[in-house]
Amino acid sequence: MLEPIHVSLASLNITTLAPMLIAIVGALVILGIDLVKEGLHKSFYVMVSLLFLLLDLGSVIDFGNIFLKNGPILGMFDMMLIDGLAILGQIIIVVGSMLFIPLALTSKRFHEYNYPEYFSLFLFMIAGFQFMVATDNLILIFVGLETASLALYALIALHNRSKSFEAAVKYFTMGALAAGFFAFGSMIFYAITGSIEINQIASVLAADHYANIGYVLVAVSFLLAAFGFKLSMVPFHTWTPDVYEGSSAALAGYMSIVPKIAGFIVAMRLFEFLVHSGVVWLQVVLYIAVVITMTASNIWAMVQTDVKRMLAYSSISHAGFVMAAILIGTTQSNTALFLYWALFSFTNLGAFTMLWVSRQKNLLPGQSSDHPYEKFAGLVKTMPMAAIMMALFMLSLAGIPPFGLFWGKIYIIASAVTGGYTVLALIMALNSAIAAYYYLKLIVFMFMKEPVTGYEKYYFTNASLSLKTIIGIAAIGTIFAVFAVNPLLKVITLFVYNSGY
């Protein structure tokens, strides 16, 4: 029989759970309040969620300080690992969520925001993502991943349009398959090394000099497929455009940011040690995957007729771009990843919010999707400020200086240069040129074409003060990013470097 386990509470270091617990408690509180009093206004839930997220953020930052003093913190049988990556990841997750959750405060009514469950699911999802990034235990990663994903499927479906259900079902099914890949991959690693903790796997593999290289590669193949799905690498990306189109613009924007950063951090933990251990196969495969993902999705984005789908493909391309940082695997590139994503989240927040504020209830005759380019034709004549804002976000996405993403872009390309990936750097640069085409296309529609009648009544109908504020924040973040880059770089480098990446 097994010996009873004696564990002292102190050694559990249960506080490492604090950020996630805050989110979970928040979710439960919202459910509890609903039991007590029904029919509260959505603004109440938004604010409660925001408050809990603030607390969450506070505790993460607290860990940040501890980390800088003492180094990585372990807890819960060493399952929790609070290192620099975890902290940075959580900050981006929580801040990103805080920026997106006020998008519920639309002026139009959407039924999903009347359910308190929406907000509690949202918080559960955040807790899931936080778990994903704050561990190197494959079980916990799996649990976090699934918690978040299941909540996300439900959130998408809550948008209550037939496309949303279709999107949710597609996402769900493919997610289930990806979960299978992940589990199977983990199983193979477990079989080879007898461990499911990434750092132990790494040390075991290193100890026997990758004797079972074949099995390792098979395992990596499965994990790559699983994370390829999560990070929407070609050809595992097929869900992305459909899901983005099906879900509300707010949620689509959210999906383009937060789940991805969680995925990136796990990918970093999983793949970088392999890249560094000289698994040439992985380098080659990642190289190919990165290039194909960037290029193919750019090319597909060019031919889209719907802005939201275009942005979906564009975010695939951006993900591919950032994936290059993992391939390069230097401190600089990992720093660049976080910098890029932080800047990207501001810009994408703005872009998707702009779509969100002009959401239509009913499609016009002949209109096949929510946000066709024609909808924005001649916007500068009807709403110049809106057009300028949208153009600003597009230019930033295209990497035109001095707007936000440009700085992330040059830092990643610079890391490719310093990492010795010259050709990759060139491919990345040239891809920006292809990408510029479809971002420009929207600008062309907005600034150089005559308005198409029928759409004008939808512009900004969904806008409320808080949405405008969010757009303003995003715009300021995008324009003045250059002043934020230096402090961001310093902090990120500190965290990344001290985590050993």
């Binding site: 079980i139 299941l150 279709e166 299978g180 199977f184 983990s186 199983m187 477990y190 007898g194 999707s369």
Partner: protein, 101 residues
């Protein structure tokens, strides 16, 4: 014949392959969900066997978690399926193509 770890793993692999084929071939949403369950359970067999082989509980723990997650997946999946069925009266995959390109 003694049943070794290898047999379990082969079984696990075969089951996984069956699951994959099911995922690719099935047009009925419900059957599709079954196929994904097969995938996960194939993994479970593998974990249990390896766990026994190493005499280490971690694998079994992983299997437990997978079971739990599979269960919640089914819950969410069936929920979606029911709503979809209510809306369209069908659970056929091929009608689910309103978004493309």
């Amino acid at each position: 014949m003694e049943i070794t770890l290898a047999h379990y793993l082969v079984l696990s692999g075969v089951l996984f392959a069956i699951g994959l084929i099911g995922v690719m071939r099935r047009k009925n949403l419900l059957m599709l969900f079954f196929a994904t369950e097969i995938l996960l359970n194939a993994t479970n067999i593998g974990f249990a066997a390896i766990s026994h082989y190493y005499n280490d509980l971690t694998g079994q723990m992983f299997a437990f978690f997978i079971i739990a997650i599979a269960a919640s997946e089914v819950a969410v999946g069936l929920g979606l399926l029911i709503v979809w069925y209510k809306r369209t009266g069908k659970i056929d995959l091929d009608i689910m193509t309103s978004m493309r390109g």
